[in-house]
């Protein structure tokens, strides 16, 4: 029987650094497109699954700390640092690990690159947070 969970004590590691101040986490998601193979004389549509899996995104919100050079700032630099001339853009692909406090395979590992670091907003009495988006480049793998 499926066990019900509360999102609690879940951690995110990015490029071998355990991130502090993770406010929320979503993903990684993936999807499969539809190939429409409906005949002209068909009465219903015939939607076949695409053989190609579409890898999605992982988004998370951090209580942004611009002085956390090893964690938060390093993530931003992964996005903003230009590639050296002639270098392989795949060097921007890093390993991400989500760790859950339950289950026999509590680690979910995938690779990806920082696609977006959202704008910082400062508001009176407001939390200083930042949304980051990772473009996932591998199917997540569960492990112990």
């Amino acid at each position: 029987m499926a066990t019900k969970r509360v999102a609690h004590k879940i951690t995110l590691t990015a490029n071998a650094v355990l991130l502090g101040g993770v406010r929320s986490l979503s993903g990684p998601g993936h999807s499969r497109d539809i190939i429409d193979v409906t005949d002209l004389d068909a009465d219903i549509t015939v939607p076949w699954p695409s053989p190609v899996l579409e890898l999605g995104e992982c988004t998370f919100t951090l209580f942004w700390d611009r002085e956390d050079t090893a964690g938060h700032v390093a993530l931003e630099l992964l996005l903003t640092d230009p590639l050296a001339a002639g270098s392989d853009p795949r060097t921007k692909i890093k390993t991400f690990i989500i760790t859950f406090p339950f289950g026999l395979v509590p680690k979910q590992t995938f690779s990806g690159w920082i696609k977006d670091a959202g704008a910082l907003s400062f508001e009176v009495k407001g939390e200083v947070t930042r949304d980051l988006t990772v473009q996932v480049t591998s199917i997540p793998v569960d492990s112990a």
Binding site: M1, T3, K4, R5, V6, H8, K9, P101, F102
Partner: protein, 144 residues
């Protein structure tokens, strides 16, 4: 049983045991004239219960919400008791044991201005620091 679990959990804390003369569940410790029998105590009462049912009626996770009031004739004592409750229950770890039952997560919030404390007295000046404590539990703790 959840009441007893929370009561025993709070009572086991040395700072609370040192400051609070009683941890009252539901019933306010008052004398015949309606005045408090003791100077400092923690009072709590279950406010809400939400059973996370499947469509097929299976439980497995229950959310309990408590009104908690830290009451004292000494303002510092009331505030210190509230700080201890907050420190013990806010972010209570994943699947930790609370008096024999398993609590998946615990959270604490301060009451807002619209909350009317239960522990109010005509003659005795007391400070009441009111909190909302939410506990998520599996079926090892229930409300019986």
């Amino acid at each position: 049983m959840i009441d007893e679990s929370l009561r025993a959990f709070l009572a086991a804390d040395l700072a609370i045991a040192d400051l609070a003369e009683e941890i009252a569940v539901g019933q306010v410790p008052i004398d015949d004239t309606g005045e408090p029998l003791i100077d400092s105590y923690i009072w709590f009462q279950q406010f809400d219960e939400d059973d996370w049912l499947d469509l097929d009626g299976l439980s497995g996770m229950t959310e309990f919400v408590f009104d908690v009031e830290c009451v004292s004739t000494n303002i510092l004592t009331a505030k210190t008791l509230a700080q201890r409750v907050r420190a013990l229950c806010q972010g209570f770890g994943y699947d930790q044991t609370m008096n024999g039952g398993t609590v998946t997560a615990g959270y604490v919030e301060s009451k807002d201005d619209s909350y009317v404390p239960v522990n109010r007295f005509q003659e005795t000046n007391t400070t009441v620091t009111a909190l909302t404590v939410t506990l998520y539990t599996d079926d090892t703790i229930n409300d019986t």
